[in-house]
Amino acid sequence: MALRISKNMGAPQLATKSGYGRMATLLVVAAGVVALALPIAMPDPYFVHSCIVVLLFAYMATSWNFVCGYVGQLSIGHAMFAGVGGYATVLIFSRLGISPWLGMLVGGVLAAMLSVVVGYPTFRLKGPYFALTTIAFAEMIRIWVENTDTFLGIPLNGAAGITVPLVGESWVAFQFNGKTPYYYVILVMLVLALLATWRLERSKLGFYLKAIRGDRDAAEALGISPARYQLVALAISAFMTGVGGGFYAQFFRYVNADRLIGVEFSIDLALMSIIGGQGTVFGPLLGAVLLTPIAEITRGHLGGVLPGLHIVIYGIILILAVLYLPKGLIDPLRSILSRLSKNGRSA
């Protein structure tokens, strides 16, 4: 946190922080190198597939964190933005023949527009109204899509979902036979989302969101309209989530309301951010890296025996995290880093 002010100040305790900063940079670079080399070093398709799922969740949780983590509001309906992005991408490709790359961006814009509809009435209110409204909206949309075969001539296919028409290996159609291209696409998306968050921390919007989270009345006295800036952040977050929904559609070549718009998906994103460390750049990534494999393993090894078991395990981890590490798992990692860096006095 003090990295930001270390530039202009020579106070002794800040030397610790810049040592800490170097350690953190080193760790990020190392993680980046590993991430780049991974599909080359271990090309097993199942392994690469699993890594893509982890990165997708990391990207989605990072998008969730962009508004919720910094403003201290809980969204349990972010899947609706993913759903809009996913459905838009598939439909724009299958109906209009427009490249999914463009479709993802259009999906993101549509998701941002939906977020304004949700956020505009609720951000004026203090209290849990935003959380309640997000879950209500997301469930309304899911139930509507599940029960709608065509809407204004657009085939939504109800509960069955829509498959992406296959055209074979093509960059324009965002379809690849191997897994590796998808891996690098989602890696780039994740890096961009992390950079956006890093930039947010140093921007006016970031300061304003943290002020609103800290104390809404005090924020207002400092020239901040809470509703306005929360809405801006939500729209950016929804855009990012919508683009992620587009990737989801292209990667799985299939969208359906239950998986993509379902409340389980929304809860996953919230839990990963909270357990990893919301309101930090790398917390949601850490949460996704740790939690996604749990879901994959319980699904893969227990199959249909105990559906939803991973949610139970997430719940237990959440309880432990809230009790012992309320700032998320990233917090002890930070203190270890600052202890490792030379002047190990944690200030």
């Binding site: 100040m9 921007s203 300061f207 943290k210 207002e220 006295a221």
Partner: protein, 247 residues
């Protein structure tokens, strides 16, 4: 040193009713550029309500509030801040998971857009408060009095023309109160006009050239501190009928 005499803030007949309670009734007063005006009154007199109406936190039922000649009644708190009026809260409300410097940076975005400039300004304010060495400290580790000073500094970070202060020395030790009085004077010397709601008489005597007194939502006195405290209405409001008669 009672300012250059031109009015910065003109309050004209503002009223506020909460259900059956007329919290502020037809209140009018002027605040001159460069002065420190104290707003006094017993508990429940309507001081904080009037304060919140000027700061935009409560809507006025009637009346006008002119700041540099423009009516600002009914404007939102963030607009009031942009116009050049800053406020502190009676219970300090720091952003507790941010550092002192970060707390002082938030308000800077109202006037500037270069983050390095805003940071430099925040550090200058930290020095002004005598908190330069704590710039990198997270606010949750500060003492109650340091938080109070930070509250004041945060208001200053918006570079206001008018500063509204709500009971800045409540709960402070005498030496802390003295430090706060000194700080407020230095703020005024930087060209900021100040309206201060305060209970502690010693602070008011030390600071303000002029005081206004409210009781039951109405203005009952307006003048120099040492004159006002001798007025029978003021004594009655603070100490009751019997005391006023004896005095």
């Amino acid at each position: 040193m009672s300012g250059d005499g031109t009015p910065l803030l003109q309050v004209r007949g503002i009223s506020k009713r909460f259900g059956g309670l007329q919290a502020v009734h037809d209140l009018s007063f002027d605040l001159r550029r460069g002065e420190i005006l104290a707003l006094l009154g017993p508990n429940g007199a309507g001081k904080t309500t009037a304060f919140n109406m000027i700061a935009g936190y409560f809507r006025t039922d009637q009346g006008r509030i002119l700041f540099e000649g423009r009516d600002i009644a009914g404007r939102k708190p963030w607009d009031i801040c942009r116009i050049g009026i800053a406020r502190t809260f009676q219970l300090s409300k720091p952003f507790s998971d941010l550092t002192v410097a970060e707390n002082l940076m938030v308000g800077g975005f109202v006037r500037r857009s270069e983050i390095d400039e805003i940071r430099a300004k925040a550090l200058e304010i930290a020095d002004f408060l005598g908190m330069g060495h704590q710039a990198a400290t997270e606010v949750q580790h500060l003492t109650a009095f340091d938080r109070r000073k930070l509250e004041l500094g945060r208001a200053l970070s918006t570079e206001p023309k008018l500063l509204l202060m709500d009971e800045v020395v409540a709960g402070a030790t005498p030496s802390e109160a003295q430090e706060m009085v000194e700080l407020v004077r230095r703020i005024r010397d930087r060209g900021v006009t100040i309206l201060i709601v305060e209970h502690v008489m010693k602070v008011i005597m030390a600071l303000s050239e002029r005081v206004i007194v409210m009781e039951s939502g109405r203005l009952i006195a307006n003048g120099k501190p040492k004159d006002v405290v001798r007025q029978p209405e003021v004594l009655k409001a603070y100490f009751g009928e019997g005391y006023a008669a004896r005095a």
